[in-house]
Symmetry: D2
Subunit: 325 residues, 4 copies
Amino acid sequence: MSKIKSIGVLCSGGDSPGMNCAIRAVVRSAINAGLDVYGIQRGFSGLLEGNIKKLDVSSVGNIIQHGGTILQTSRCLEFHEADIRKEAAHILKRKKIDALVVIGGNGSFNGTYALHSEHGIPVAGIPGTIDNDISGTDYSIGFDTAVQTAIDAVDKIRDTASSHERTFIVEVMGRKSAAIALHVGVCTGAENVVLPSDTLNIEEIAKDVKRGISRGKNSSIIIVAEGEKEGLSHRIREELKNDHGIDSHVCILGHIQRGGNPSGIDRFIASGMGYIAVKDLIKGEKAIVTAYRHGEVVTVPFSECLEKKTDYLPQYINLVKTLSI
Amino acid sequence: MSKIKSIGVLCSGGDSPGMNCAIRAVVRSAINAGLDVYGIQRGFSGLLEGNIKKLDVSSVGNIIQHGGTILQTSRCLEFHEADIRKEAAHILKRKKIDALVVIGGNGSFNGTYALHSEHGIPVAGIPGTIDNDISGTDYSIGFDTAVQTAIDAVDKIRDTASSHERTFIVEVMGRKSAAIALHVGVCTGAENVVLPSDTLNIEEIAKDVKRGISRGKNSSIIIVAEGEKEGLSHRIREELKNDHGIDSHVCILGHIQRGGNPSGIDRFIASGMGYIAVKDLIKGEKAIVTAYRHGEVVTVPFSECLEKKTDYLPQYINLVKTLSI
Amino acid sequence: MSKIKSIGVLCSGGDSPGMNCAIRAVVRSAINAGLDVYGIQRGFSGLLEGNIKKLDVSSVGNIIQHGGTILQTSRCLEFHEADIRKEAAHILKRKKIDALVVIGGNGSFNGTYALHSEHGIPVAGIPGTIDNDISGTDYSIGFDTAVQTAIDAVDKIRDTASSHERTFIVEVMGRKSAAIALHVGVCTGAENVVLPSDTLNIEEIAKDVKRGISRGKNSSIIIVAEGEKEGLSHRIREELKNDHGIDSHVCILGHIQRGGNPSGIDRFIASGMGYIAVKDLIKGEKAIVTAYRHGEVVTVPFSECLEKKTDYLPQYINLVKTLSI
Amino acid sequence: MSKIKSIGVLCSGGDSPGMNCAIRAVVRSAINAGLDVYGIQRGFSGLLEGNIKKLDVSSVGNIIQHGGTILQTSRCLEFHEADIRKEAAHILKRKKIDALVVIGGNGSFNGTYALHSEHGIPVAGIPGTIDNDISGTDYSIGFDTAVQTAIDAVDKIRDTASSHERTFIVEVMGRKSAAIALHVGVCTGAENVVLPSDTLNIEEIAKDVKRGISRGKNSSIIIVAEGEKEGLSHRIREELKNDHGIDSHVCILGHIQRGGNPSGIDRFIASGMGYIAVKDLIKGEKAIVTAYRHGEVVTVPFSECLEKKTDYLPQYINLVKTLSI
């Protein structure tokens, strides 16, 4: 069995802070091992357009500290089609790219795994999404930075909430994923957290806010995961007002959560993942994901990382509530 | 003419980062000069409720670095009524508070000046509002921190915008004031800035975005001052989409701009203003505002600082446009 | 066996960011469970002086986001003496404190465990030290924030190093512990890392710097753990100059690494540790430490957490070197 | 008189945050006006080596938010020699560079002015140095960011100082300039500030520390400008210990003060300065500096900006002392 001599790397799906660290680790580890490395611009869309260039060690100099991704990224819906993947496989062969590293979420992982299954191309997935919702790994790159950005924002909002004795509803990212909201809730001393899987319970939120006021708190913060339907926070504000006479303000943190310099955790894990992805592809692995499990970066079969993780640990809700009494 | 022996201090209107620095400077300067100092909680509302306590040097220890205000603040609409101000004057006299320092915006300044005019109470105003829109002073406390917070947010959005080749519409605070939007526009390399006083010109925004794309830019940022009618940014997004086929995302920065640790500039100017306010009240001044003019903290007649400043320097728009070609 | 009805909490040894989060979690969890809680000021020294006050839920309001510790801390050498610990046990009994939570490093844990062994007082240890060098736990509170502070500093130094084509030697904390230096090395793209356990190899450092220059790098960063003997970084600078003709600058990051707002990770883990410490003491545990193992907060026997952890994972050195080629 | 058709831009001396903003403004303003622009790498040294490349609008894309300088910088001592400047003038003519913009401190300004005087080359100086010590301008680019970095560091040190009831001596940059030390002193609530021009008065420092302790402060911070002789802070520590029995810790902030993302103020002023420098050179000005005076960017004769500014406003010392009682 012949060894791989070259490797391609791309980012796919939403960007997340730390992708640059993973790219840097892939490129330098591969060059250090004697491989050629190709950067594929704009995800699978760029691959299909042949938007590919050879990278050297300097290509990834001075990027470890920057958010975003120098390779850019895209959501490529047509990659769900087998024909399109066949074309991608041809392009990779024509460009003499023997293996592919894909940094992205579980949507991108599904396409990557299909590409491997159908065309035999060795692939490594590096989990990169701020939602931390990929099955098979405890962590995906960008989550810590996103949580930190949201925490910093809520800390600022707490300043003004306390100065005015106000209630704020702060909406964080998470269409289906509770992870950001739960962590931000614990870390900011929020009075309540509303999660995508929950049935909205305005009575309870109102009770928490009123209890806080009655024991002398000068502000309340409710953290809301955005959920799948736009407008949740505004709906909560209106119901708090109409049904419980509670005035509140809405803050939607939005896209600031995707950017910013990657945190230490994200840099560290992304560096380890990029390094091990290349190492294992060189060893002859065919379809792996660099997962974070039990506090360590390991590689696991690609097939374990294709689902969206929607569960969360209910004890954290309890933690939020107990600690904000 | 008898000298003042005690001083009260309160915050009024919206909170702004640096108010704590001003409070600290007032308290320590006054105590250093042998005066008694009283902290009035929650603005004029707190004054009317007698929510007043004597402060010592330790009361303001370790607050210089924190956003918000330890005295809290409020908007007290009833203070527009002469009867209510009369009551306030009585309370001040009963509490033996000889002079009053008010940290706030021009709405609060109007009430303060009326209190002085009608009841002879010596007053000093310290300009504190993130909007920097008080007549008679080039600067009001909190503006630099608010601008910095917005810049940091746009820097993060730029990361994700560049990674996805996207256009973002970022809404900053400023109902009538162009100041934050203009500064953020210059400092983030925005492609265009929409100001409260402008007639909305979607054609021009679309032209700027398209020019940027055609010359190879991988992202565009439009900074929008919120204006007086909610929903401006969403309206711009829809018109860009419908009339010009341009996809864009909206980010409304909101209340994060009010909080956060005060910047060096805000700490420095607030400290100087608190110091000079007390000094001049002790000297016998009756109605002054600590203004920032030509790069210096000075005191000016209160009557010069009662209006909302709505003008801005049009050359900055030109600067934004020239520098983002 | 009677249940505990009250709990005392103190910080001991060097302070670390996140101690406030742990204090808050202990206080609120205990009050929520119906216990009385006593804050002991300034560590074991304060305990011996009877510097103890009852805390309520508001005592720990609005502290989750602040560095340092509201209880203050101290190194109490005399606590190594059995007589002194006997006195401490008496004081606890007199004040009706049934159990003690100690937040600190392994020196403090030894004293705490002796107090328990000799006098039967139920104790829980919460690992708090930026050095992350306590046996039996993968993490101690403050480490992530300290690493982040050092990374932010090195990012700034990288700016000026790149602008001037310079070599910088950056000294981070770690007398015996390699943890901060290794993480900062990986996360900042350092060219080399010098660890406490290493024999200093100037030749290799010089080789790394020269290799970087010859391949076109415009700056080099060497991360040095301070070690036990002051002056290591300056010695390296002199040897690089004298023996290899390499000019370099020294930056000693020092105490800034101990302060600052706790990061999300530190807030999250500290909150979980405080919560579980109280829960398990109430359950009847007598001597536990809240350890972080395999990505989770668990409780383990106190006796497992008494040593200083000096090992580190040698693969990280390899990672630093491979990724900075 | 013929108009200039091209312009060169370089950075000289120590780097400072915001230089990239000034470069961007020069490049885009010049291209917008139809000029050719040349970036000169590594200051006057690079000019002498012909290290010059033509820049386009994209060359300065996405740099406004980054510290350091993409053109790099150097101290070129040989530029003090007339022969060398003659050579530089020849190179500029050969490369068809009609005018030169120099971003730097007053050392660099002297060389630039001599180049103009001797060879008639139109020049514009943009003040860029964190020391803010150039005559003729109230501000030079980088000062605000450097002060902010130092403030952030002292805020962190305050956390640990308060937790341990300690005294810290924090050394900031400023060989001859008092500006950083004074601003940091005011903005961090320091107990005392030691300036380059002062005779060291240990008695007074000791008195301030002791007064703070006796009135219940739990920490003291002394800000020290580095001065011209290394080791000042350590000398203060020893004298405090030996003569007054006061224990203290030393923190030397060092080069972190030169780096970091430029603050809003630095971005704003640098953008304005770059813009106006180009505008006035095009108008036909021959030797100007873009100065900040009375809160505005203006151009002034080059000859007014050749000295080092060593005076400072003594009232700030008084402010530090009054506010830290």
